[in-house]
């Protein structure tokens, strides 16, 4: 923590020069390493505003396509029958704000910026098994619930707290099951329902150590990984018969 306050101190000094910008912010850590005993990480976001308004911080991360499937009972057996594929869904989404979101009083703006879980637009690109248009929302909701259960989409909005009128801080929580890739922390300043400033800071999350090595090996050179698995097993089998005798 001492280090963080040191950074904060120099940061405040630096603010004098940054006076022209409506908001300036930085993070205590910009890259996260996941190793075998990673249990999650808290990153401190701190900054200053040189203008009035409410602050909203959104952290979202690597976009991928997701398929949501729904089981139905067919001949007594529960089978995946209907499915919807959503395009460019964030793996991770969390939100911090100074005030409740409704106080910003501009639903359209929040929606176009995808701020707030209820304002995220999920774009269906592949619909199968006769899913009707009004059912797509159920699939999107199931996706959000699934993400929330894994702590990847925050259930609550965390607080951005102020230190005086200018300085603000919030803690960004990264859970242990976070995926690798690039994330962004975006800081929005809203004034009277109008977006008056945005700052975006990238955060890199990468796996390290043995797990990352094996995962990459299995995915990037899958043939050699397969051969390696076979060699490991044949050798173990031979070693077992050598150790325990020719039974």
């Amino acid at each position: 923590m001492k280090k963080i306050f040191l950074i904060l101190f120099f940061f405040i000094i630096g603010l004098a020069e940054a006076n022209a910008k409506p908001i300036v912010a930085d993070l205590s850590i910009r890259s996260v390493d996941i190793d075998h005993d990673f249990t999650g990480l808290d990153i401190l976001l701190f900054g200053a505003r040189n203008d009035v308004g409410r602050i909203v911080v959104v952290v979202r991360g690597p976009q991928r396509n997701y398929i949501v499937r729904k089981k139905e009972q067919i001949a007594g057996i529960w089978v995946n029958s209907k499915s919807v594929e959503f395009k460019n869904v964030n793996d991770f989404y969390s939100l911090a704000a100074t005030n409740p979101l409704f106080e910003i009083r501009n639903e359209n703006l929040l929606s176009s910026l995808d701020i707030g879980l209820e304002n995220i637009e999920f774009e269906p690109i592949d619909i199968r098994g006769g899913v009707k248009t009004h059912e797509i929302d159920d699939f999107a909701e199931a996706l959000v619930k699934n993400k929330q259960n894994q702590n990847l989409y925050a259930k609550d909005i965390s607080r951005v707290s102020f230190w005086g009128e200018t300085l603000f801080r919030t803690v960004l929580e990264f859970p242990k099951n976070i995926s690798r890739g690039w994330y962004t922390a975006e800081i929005f300043l809203f004034n009277d329902g109008i977006l008056s400033a945005v700052q975006s800071t990238p955060i890199r999350v990468s796996k390290t150590g043995f797990e990352a090595f094996m995962f990459d090996f299995a995915h990037k050179s899958s043939f050699f990984y397969g051969v390696f698995c076979v060699v490991m097993a044949v050798f173990s089998g031979w070693a077992a018969s050598a150790i325990f005798g020719r039974m």
Binding site: I67, R69, W78, A212, M214, G226, C229, V234, A240, M247
Partner: protein, 307 residues
């Protein structure tokens, strides 16, 4: 002590995995079977995704089959020529199986296909073995006699005028090559879809359909299994990236030690009682899997990332 499985992407207790492998090994030693048919469902019960469970069991079976094969090889109980014909079919069947596996995975139906084939397969085997061993126990009590030698069934298949007759010296028989190739192919499909060695299907087929002497049957089927499971492991690794080497290694370690205990136990118990116990175990696993298919799941929706 937790260990993070890199491919299954989940933390698991090391000792539980060693124990699970050990249990598979005990069964393998006790009943002379691969144990894969119980290991895969057990892995699914602890939360390993079915696709990873199947692919990783296949990897584990290579190790137990290699040591089993060596034991038979030293005793000259392997018909290599027959093994090669079985293997020919096996490689063909395994490739078809992995292709099916990949298609089912893309359709989102692989979990269902695995569970369903297990329920059918375990149900059939469990009932047949249960009935057979119960009869044997009753008969044993009444007469106290010797064990019954298996009758050669389905002889008409061998006598049918199929082309491409081949002489197998070690087994001392001449059959059409089409028969071992078909038997091998069927076993190969099961290897890819269910993560089992296929000995369960192959051994009875070799005795009843091909008419091979019982002494060479196990060694020869293990010979074929080593190669088909090796191919299937590589195919799974390439097509679905679902082989977890850390999981496989822990299961192998447990299995090797467990097999020693299993062999010791099997020497002390009469074989029909062993078969009866196995039948009960098989049926219990079958019922557990069947419940998962028929009971309404807590969450109807499932979410998958598109790679």
């Amino acid at each position: 002590m937790q260990i993070y499985l890199p491919i299954a992407e989940l933390p698991v207790n090391i000792f539980m995995l060693l124990g699970l492998g050990g249990l598979g090994g005990v069964l393998a030693g006790m009943f002379g079977i691969g144990g894969g048919f119980l290991l895969t469902p057990f892995l699914m019960f602890i939360g390993v995704p079915p696709a990873v469970a199947v692919a990783t069991s296949t990897n584990q079976i290579i190790a137990s089959s290699v040591s089993g094969f060596l034991a038979h090889w030293y005793r000259n109980n392997v018909d290599i020529k027959m093994g090669i014909f079985l293997l020919f079919g096996g490689l063909f069947g395994a490739s078809i199986g992995v292709w099916l596996f990949t298609i089912l995975k893309d359709l989102g139906q692989i979990d269902l296909a695995i569970s369903l084939s297990y329920v059918i397969f375990l149900g059939t085997i469990g009932v047949l073995m249960g009935v057979e061993s119960t009869k044997a126990i009753i008969k044993h009590k009444r007469q106290g006699g010797d064990e019954i030698e298996p009758e050669v069934k389905m002889a008409w298949l061998r006598e049918a005028n199929l082309p491409w007759k081949v002489r197998f010296h070690r087994s001392n028989l001449t059959v059409s090559a089409i028969l071992p190739i078909s038997v091998g192919a069927l076993a190969g499909i099961l290897v890819s879809l269910m993560g089992i060695g296929g000995g369960f299907i192959m051994i009875p087929a070799m005795i009843y359909i091909l008419g091979m002497p019982t002494s060479v049957v196990v060694g020869t089927s293990l010979f074929q299994i080593v190669f088909t499971t090796s191919l299937v492991t590589i195919l799974h690794a390439v097509n679905t990236q679902s082989v977890d080497i850390v999981l496989a290694f822990l299961l192998i370690i447990g299995g090797v030690v467990g097999a020693q205990f299993g062999t010791m136990i099997s020497l002390k118990l009469p074989s029909e009682k062993l078969r009866w116990m196995l039948a009960i175990l098989v049926l219990m696993v079958c019922i557990r899997l069947a419940l998962g298919l028929f009971l309404e799941p807590d969450n109807l929706y499932s979410v998958t990332v598109v790679e």
